[in-house]
């Protein structure tokens, strides 16, 4: 059922958890929120599929907290900062993992009233991520075949990321040219626009909206009155 929600619900859910994460400030509350998010990921089947991404976010959040600690932060504040980072980003995995980009665009245009050009730019920009992953894999393999043992060496990895920036740029440039051309040919920018699938909310979505509103109110109440 977590998969059948329409994109706008997922966007709101993702945005909602980000707001809650900002509002809550005690590590325990943030941990509970994280547990809830992990549960959503698990139920929608995205947790095991994207376990690497989850771990990466975890490591990133950890370093964020560490930097703040080294910079002289309070221990509890730093833990909260790391957890907040985690809480704000975790559900993006769910959003991007269960929604097709076309639907995301359609939803942004139809319900969030974002101008089509901007929504399109956003989703076209997301295409950069798979490109990056693919390019990185190809270069990693090429380097392995030339005798570079990589296993777990952080500096070598960073060096490799540097070396794929230029090819990635070149590829994106030539691709955006092709894309511009094919958009032109297919009448991009015309007055009438139709979308392939309906992204209008249904029964389960309205229940979610209600829950989201209630939880948000609850979280704010809890924070202000009970100091969660």
């Amino acid at each position: 059922m977590m998969k059948q929600l329409v994109p706008i619900t997922k966007i709101l859910l993702t945005g909602g958890t980000a707001v809650w994460a900002l509002v809550l400030h005690r590590p325990l509350s943030l941990v509970i929120l994280m547990a809830a998010e992990l549960l959503i990921l698990l139920v929608s089947g995205q947790l095991l599929k994207n376990i690497k991404a989850v771990l990466m976010l975890g490591i990133f959040a950890f370093f964020l907290g560490l930097i703040e600690y080294i910079g002289g932060g309070e221990k509890e504040e730093c833990v909260a900062a790391a957890l907040r980072m985690m809480d704000m980003t975790l559900l993006f995995i769910y959003l991007l993992g269960t929604t097709r980009l076309q639907d995301l665009t359609a939803s942004m245009v139809q319900q969030m009233k974002i101008p089509y050009e901007y929504a399109f730019m956003f989703t076209a920009g997301l295409r950069f991520i798979p490109d990056f992953i693919e390019e990185n894999k190809a270069v990693a393999e090429a380097q392995a075949c030339r005798g570079l043992a990589m296993e777990g060496n952080f500096f070598k990895k960073v060096h490799r990321y540097m070396s794929i920036v230029r090819p990635l740029m070149l590829r994106s440039l030539s691709r955006s040219e092709t894309m511009a051309l094919s958009l032109e040919l297919r009448g991009f920018g015309g007055a009438h626009r139709t979308f392939m699938d309906s992204v209008s909310p249904k029964g389960a979505d309205y229940i979610c909206f209600l829950l989201l509103a209630l939880i948000t109110a609850g979280v704010i109440y809890g924070r202000v009155i009970l100091n969660f």
Partner: protein
């Protein structure tokens, strides 16, 4: 000797079986073609040889020593790889650095490094691009840069994945000549290709992959004169087909042989 012993393979946790019980030997100095329909698993075989994939069962041996668990970096001491899309394998900012990457990893420095790099660039005829950015060169040039990169590591085996597809006649000839040169220098060339003219004209051996198995493993003349290559979606080389129309239907491995046979049949020269 590089061998695949009873190798089976599938991608992912429980993907469909791509290869089943593959048994293959690659001897010193051979020029082996690996061919078969699109998606038959040719690239996969070469990835198993280089260590980019690990077999789900079976062993990979090098000179009798089990190297199944060795990764691609360790195996680079004896095998080099020219990818199907060579632009994807270039990652340094000049051709010279690109070619020098392998020998540098092998520990070569200074004059010794320069010497092997220059030699490899000359052999593959890419010296004039030495200071250019590899990714903006033509595919044929990139192909030869990739070959130079393997040559600079002095590997015993080199895998080329469809280097001639999409190339014009001139570039194809250059690549063919380069592959022959490597073979003469004692390097085992493993060529993945759909180009039957090269298979018949140059290769000492041809392996056909079909239905997850090795469907044929023998010399090209046996494949084209006694086998049924059309069953595996392979075309006959033009010279072989034309040779059949001559009296006595001689086997002509390339156009030069055909011309000679033709002259003989006509009683010319």
């Amino acid at each position: 000797m590089l061998t695949l012993q009873n190798v089976s393979f599938h991608y992912g946790e429980n993907g469909p079986e791509i290869l089943q019980n593959i048994q293959l030997n690659f001897g010193r100095g051979e020029f082996v073609a690996v061919t078969g329909r699109n998606g038959s698993g040719k690239t996969t075989i070469t990835r198993l040889l280089t260590g980019l994939e690990k077999p789900t069962s079976g062993r990979v041996c090098y000179n009798g020593q089990d190297v199944t668990r060795e990764d691609a970096a360790a195996r680079s001491r004896f095998i080099g790889y020219v990818f199907q899309q060579p632009d994807r394998q270039m990652f340094m900012s000049t051709v010279r650095e690109e070619v020098g990457f392998g020998p540098y990893q092998q520990g070569k420095r200074g004059a010794e490094l320069d010497a092997v790099v220059d030699e490899a660039m000359h052999k593959a005829d890419v010296f004039r691009f030495a200071d250019e950015y590899p990714r903006t060169l033509s595919r044929g040039d990139q192909q030869r840069i990739a070959i130079a990169s393997a040559l600079a590591m002095h590997t015993e085996y080199i895998v080329l994945d469809e280097p001639t597809s999409g190339q014009d006649g001139r570039e194809k000839k250059r690549l063919s000549a380069l592959m022959s040169q490597m073979r003469e220098a004692g390097i085992t060339v493993i060529l993945v290709t759909h180009d039957m003219d090269i298979v018949a004209g140059q290769c000492t051996r041809v392996i056909v992959i079909a239905d997850h198995h090795v469907a044929f493993d023998g010399t090209p003349d046996v494949l084209f004169s006694e086998g049924r290559p059309e069953e595996w979606g392979l075309a006959y080389p033009a010279s072989v087909r034309m040779g059949r129309s001559l009296p006595g239907a001689p086997y002509c491995k390339d156009m030069a042989t055909f011309c000679e046979m033709y002259r003989k049949a006509r009683g010319i020269g």
